[in-house]
Symmetry: C2
Subunit: 174 residues, 2 copies
């Protein structure tokens, strides 16, 4: 780690050839193009149950979520979803198909959610999870879900469980 | 525009609490989190034909593409696709459903492609287009398509044209 003695000094400007205001650092000239970030995740199925992970980190520590996280450069969306299941639940998964693409404009996130299944019946908490469990519909702790989009994905999945062909979902109507 | 007299002096480091190396500016301490960027676009249909735009800008100036471009902060993926059709083809479109999610890892892009139709039969080239046309399958200039993913979207769409329910596509097998 370098010792960082300064912070960027951003000003709002429209860079040459651009049509939007961006943060430009008055110290070093860097243009910080902020684009929406991609989260990928999956509903992981096994024996009619669904994987949930209890978060060991903020935000929403202690609440239940699907294995999901920020996509990194150099991987596909499917590989990113598989990596997240491996990191958060020590689970090898197979991606089955796309369930939903959500946008959360307030935090500039696009969430790409897949249906998947366990490649082998083995899982355990990774460093970002306190617990991992497989639950049936009647066992989902709806009051302890970490994020609204986890609820959306679970509820939308329930409407097409067992259906082979369906259009992927977007944000539910408010 | 500010006059920018310096450039960022990035070094590769793992910031505190992170698991990946990032570019950190030695001058100002800024951490440049590079995430994949999202392109949204659409196959816009009208009267059995498909909209193509001839690019007025680099890369691939003079070649044909679908109305598509980088998603901005503050919009949904569907709104971004609608804005691109408005900007590139002065076209008001209605999003029908998701066609495909492609990843281009080499350039760290995720492309979210919709099926759409013209809200009204009116279009013309925007500032980033030289020409806009509606074409039938036999009229597509396959040798003058700007990007491989445009070809993927057109070919995959052709396999499900008229089908109500289908799973969205991903990158075709190499």
């Amino acid at each position: 780690m370098a010792i960082q003695t300064q912070s960027p000094d951003f000003r709002r400007e429209i860079p040459d050839g651009d049509s939007h205001e961006r943060d430009v650092c008055a110290t070093c000239g860097f243009v910080n193009y902020v684009n929406p970030k991609i989260v990928t995740g999956s509903i992981v199925r096994h024996d009619g149950k669904i994987m949930l992970c209890r978060r060991a980190i903020e935000p929403r520590i202690g609440f239940w979520t699907l294995p999901a996280g920020f996509m990194e450069v150099g991987e596909t969306t499917e590989q990113a979803a598989m990596r997240e299941a491996r990191e958060e639940a020590n689970a090898a998964i197979v991606i089955d198909r796309l369930l939903a693409v959500y946008t959360i404009p307030r935090i500039a996130q696009v969430q790409i959610m897949y249906l998947a299944h366990l490649a082998e019946p083995s899982f355990s908490p990774g460093p970002e999870s306190l617990e991992v469990m497989m639950v049936g519909w009647d066992e989902i702790p709806w009051d302890e879900i970490a994020f609204p989009s986890v609820t959306w994905a679970l509820e939308q999945y329930r409407t097409i469980e067992g259906v082979a062909e369906f259009a992927p979902f977007s944000n539910p109507a408010p």
